[in-house]
């Protein structure tokens, strides 16, 4: 376990070095963060156009949390990039498991997403007249972090399937987070969808976590919040488990048929 944590630490340092080569705090703040804040405002303004503060509340909170999903699923691009750089064969040959390095590849971006969502949660509600139950609302960023982890696990699972089809990585990234933003209760309640689709959303990340956040902000029952958060964690763990198995199968298949080296 200690060895894996050391691998994770060095993986994080490498990820941060790469991330900070493309993003400075200025570019992050003035291009990425501001873009995400405006994205949430775009949907909140739709609520204003609908003429209902209830709609504004719903759309703003949903999108404040949802903007984090983009960063959380960027792990899809990063794992494919990692494989294209030809490191997989070396990691498989190393005594430590390759899963730690690969599946932890996007944690820096997850941090970026959680930071963006948290900033949006702190800055935007007053601008749109959304009331929050302060001071207890200070817990919400922690809940956003839980949703972020769950979305990240889902992203790693998609990544494990896309690794064999690198040219589909952008498509996979976009579809992955758009599915969450469209169907998981961000803009309309999941009850709006047909039963079969609602069943699908119940095993997707975001659905339960966002429901927990909404219940918490509406000062609903603590048990509802905890149950929904628990379900969100379970969903995340399940996606991560599938990711690990799928990734391992891909490696075993690669070793068997000689396709493990995919550098380009």
């Amino acid at each position: 376990m200690r060895d894996q944590l050391r691998v994770l630490k060095h993986g994080l340092i490498a990820s941060w070095t790469m991330y900070s080569a493309f993003q400075t705090w200025k570019t992050w703040t003035f291009t990425w963060l501001s873009r995400l804040l405006i994205q949430a405002c775009f949907y909140a303004l739709i609520g204003r156009m609908l003429g209902s503060q209830q709609q504004v509340d719903y759309l703003l909170i949903g999108n404040v949390v949802a903007i984090m999903a983009i960063d959380a699923t960027v792990v899809i691009l990063l794992t494919v990039g990692e494989r294209q750089s030809g490191t997989l064969a070396l990691m498989v040959a190393a005594p430590s498991t390759h899963l730690t390095a690969y599946l932890g590849r996007g944690l820096v971006n997850l941090g970026s997403g959680v930071a963006a969502s948290t900033t949006a949660f702190l800055v935007l509600p007053p601008l749109f007249g959304v009331r929050l139950p302060w001071p207890s609302a200070a817990v919400v960023p922690l809940m956003i972090f839980v949703v972020g982890l769950s979305c990240y696990c889902y992203g790693t699972c998609v990544a494990s399937f896309v690794l064999g089809f690198p040219s589909a990585r952008w498509l996979a990234l976009n579809l992955s987070y758009l599915v969450l933003m469209t169907f998981c209760g961000v803009n309309v309640p999941t009850s709006f969808w047909p039963d079969w689709l609602r069943a699908v959303t119940s095993v997707l990340p975001m659905t339960h976590g966002l429901a927990a956040i909404r219940a918490f902000i509406a000062e609903g029952q603590a048990s509802t919040v905890l149950v929904q958060l628990g379900l969100e964690v379970c969903v995340g763990v399940a996606w991560f488990a599938v990711a690990a198995v799928s990734f391992d199968r891909m490696v075993r298949r690669g070793r068997r048929d000689g396709t493990i080296e995919f550098g380009g």
């Binding site: 003035f30 873009r35 405006i38």
Partner: protein, 255 residues
């Protein structure tokens, strides 16, 4: 004209070889479902036209930023930009042809939106003034070609140009009122909308879908075409300046 058509042909050939570049077409259905689900859930059938128009114009912008503006940067990455610059004739027309080919495809999200609206939600908004609507769409495509040329040239100025390009999505959607009319924006922001051609397009197309007669069609179309022409001229000047600067600095290509 020959060089322009050559650019058009090249771009279509490239798209056939790399269909994954048509990513925007795959993301539009989600925008359609998001917008329509919001207005249907709120029981506001009067806003269905907005929900149809938003994915259409977002798709047009998506084609511009996702594909058209990366034409020159793509040339740089494949190390063909310097070859083009060394050619005996100026290749600006070729690049413009490639951008135009992409933007003609920008009409596809319109059909996609209408089709999905009917298939998934069983709704299609009436277009009461079809000629005005199509004239606005054509003018918008023209203006988007000019805007794309400006952005494509500007992309050559920075290694991190993708960051800036990524930024130019929701701010533009918000300021141009593709879904929510500009009057819902805070007043200090509203003047900014007038210099974005998409705001004129969105307003005119929304009016063309509504039953009342459309006022001031001529000057509104002129505003879209005028902004597009200004961008086209600006883009041509910027492209020439950018390529000259890259040549002078020895930064035509990266190691």
């Amino acid at each position: 004209m020959g060089l322009f058509l050559s650019g058009v042909r090249t771009q279509f050939w490239l798209l056939r070889r790399q269909p994954d570049e048509l990513l925007t077409l795959c993301t539009i259905p989600f925008t359609v479902v998001m917008m329509l689900s919001i207005v249907m859930h709120a029981a506001r059938p009067d806003l269905v036209a907005n929900a149809f128009l938003a994915p259409t114009l977002i798709g047009l912008w998506g084609f511009a930023t996702g594909l058209a503006t990366t034409v020159l940067v793509g040339e740089r990455w494949t190390s063909t930009l310097e070859l083009g610059m060394a050619a005996p004739r100026s290749l600006h027309s070729v690049y413009l042809g490639r951008i135009s080919a992409v933007m003609v495809l920008g009409v596809v999200p319109l059909g996609e939106t209408w089709l999905l609206g009917e298939l998934l939600f069983g709704v299609t908004p009436a277009v009461h003034h079809p000629w005005v609507f199509w004239a606005a769409m054509a003018a918008s495509v023209f203006a988007m070609i000019g805007t794309s040329l400006v952005l494509a040239a500007a992309m050559l100025l920075s290694k991190n140009s993708n960051n800036y390009l990524n930024f130019l999505s929701f701010p533009i959607y918000l300021l141009s009122g593709v879904m929510v009319p500009v009057q819902y924006l805070p007043e200090p922001l509203q003047p900014l909308s007038h210099v974005i051609f998409l705001s004129w397009s969105a307003d005119l197309m929304r009016d063309a879908m509504a039953a009342p007669p459309v006022a001031g069609v001529g000057w509104r179309l002129l505003a879209i075409v005028g902004l597009g022409a200004a961008a086209l001229v600006g883009g041509r000047v910027l492209l020439a300046a950018t390529l000259r600067r890259a040549r002078e600095l020895g930064a035509v290509t990266y190691a």
